[in-house]
Symmetry: C2
Subunit: 263 residues, 2 copies
């Protein structure tokens, strides 16, 4: 099972309970070496405070969540997101494409907007030494969050621009072409996220499960990702109203246990 040294705390897992400062202290307390902050937590704390505190606590940043949302338009903000990732020493910025523009039903057009925006942003990221890690999101989020729905589709966009991918078991586990798609992404995987798919799923965004509580064969997907050359940190990213209502130290304790047992 997965080596605990690879566990990265994605801060959204304790979004409602902890500030970034508390997340950093929590990681230190629970022997977690990596952290993956969301930008709202960074903004709240201040970029310099965040960078110093993370460094002083002996943590490394596995990535920053998240840039993108191109279809609703915020190009300057994405440059700031890249600057923040660079300041934190993060190797990548996770990119979520965005959904359909307001009032539009034109999915091919939305996807062209994303491709164009990525092409525009890529040189800035390259100059900053931050990889853009394009994340396919579950098809149930296609309308309102992300028009990039599969690993193969993300790879097709990433390849010509020399971008990377962020793969999350929650978004990709159902994909009948998962095996060949991940193999084709060899050398292009910058981030790997875990959680679980609950049955039933009561919300299309905020009802993810703790690893082991759902039906995803996480070790199988980890093996595919590792066969494709990825051996870096593994982010525990659980968007869940249920887990946001739990004691955050208990959340981290259980996440550690499950990381060893179920990832």
């Amino acid at each position: 099972m997965a080596d605990l040294a690879r566990l990265s705390l994605n801060t959204i897992t304790v979004r409602d309970q902890w500030t970034l400062a508390q997340c950093i202290e929590g990681c230190a307390r629970h022997g977690i070496r990596w952290i993956e902050p969301w930008r709202d937590k960074i903004a709240e704390y201040g970029l310099n405070n965040a960078a110093r505190h993370i460094r002083d606590a002996g943590l490394s940043v596995s990535g920053v969540c998240r840039g993108g949302l191109f279809t609703t338009g915020a190009p300057d903000d994405n440059r700031r997101a890249i600057d923040e990732a660079a300041a934190l020493g993060a190797p990548n910025l996770v990119i979520v494409a965005g959904g359909l523009p307001a009032g539009s039903k034109d999915l091919p057009a939305a996807r062209r907007i994303v491709a164009d925006a990525l092409a525009e942003l890529a040189p800035y990221a390259r100059a900053a030494g931050v990889a853009l890690a394009l994340e396919p999101l579950h098809p149930m989020t296609c309308a309102d969050r992300c028009v990039i729905s599969t690993t193969a589709q993300a790879l097709e966009l990433a390849r010509p621009l020399d971008l990377q991918l962020a793969l999350d078991v929650y978004h990709i586990w159902w994909d009948p072409t998962l095996e060949p798609s991940i193999a084709a992404a060899a050398g292009r995987i910058a981030a790997f996220h875990v959680c679980d798919w609950l049955v039933p799923t009561r919300d299309t965004v905020f009802d993810r499960g703790m690893m082991g509580d759902g039906v995803i064969d996480i070790p199988r997907i980890r093996a595919l990702v590792e066969s494709a050359g990825y051996s870096g940190p593994i982010g525990v990213e659980i968007l869940s109203r249920a887990w946001w209502n739990r004691d955050p130290d208990e959340v981290l304790r259980i996440a550690r246990e499950r990381f060893s047992a179920c990832v």
Copy 2:
């Protein structure tokens, strides 16, 4: 826009309001020529009663919903479903594969069960003159309803067994490979269903929208399906707690209007 003569009432659209007898009378009253009954409604009315009433009302059956659910195991029941479809003069039986077997996380194994079950069932359906119309369901239903998630995947299963497909805009609209996948299914589409994807979607099963209330570019998908040779009836299939709470005659009136305006 779509010719009203193609509208077929899928009985689940008024599941909670009407019996099959009421659905038949409702179709006759609203000038709807096709009906697509679910098996529970057929069972409730009795197969012979259903067949006689549908015939007497001058309606035709576009298909029967549904068989399959192979991963939870009911092979005899699927033969009965084929018999029922034949008795009703339905050209096809819609097949929903089924999700993961209870306690299993092995998605490839579940898909093998489905392939084997289809191979076993296909000769019986062929002898009965009923096409098995394999329906890919939205990936958000992969765990608990259907491990066949894309048109391409359904086609890969259908082709060697000479089966047909049932395509529903709700399940396939997000697919980045939709255009080539539907083109590849030319001559193999037996059923086409419409409804809409609401934003937000509050339930993964029972929150479908009336055509025009969501973000699906239905005419684009209809054009793809027609380019692939399908010109038959179009089922209005809306699983929705909201529409189940409306006056059923109003539901049919609005469905007719929207069929003309938005399909």
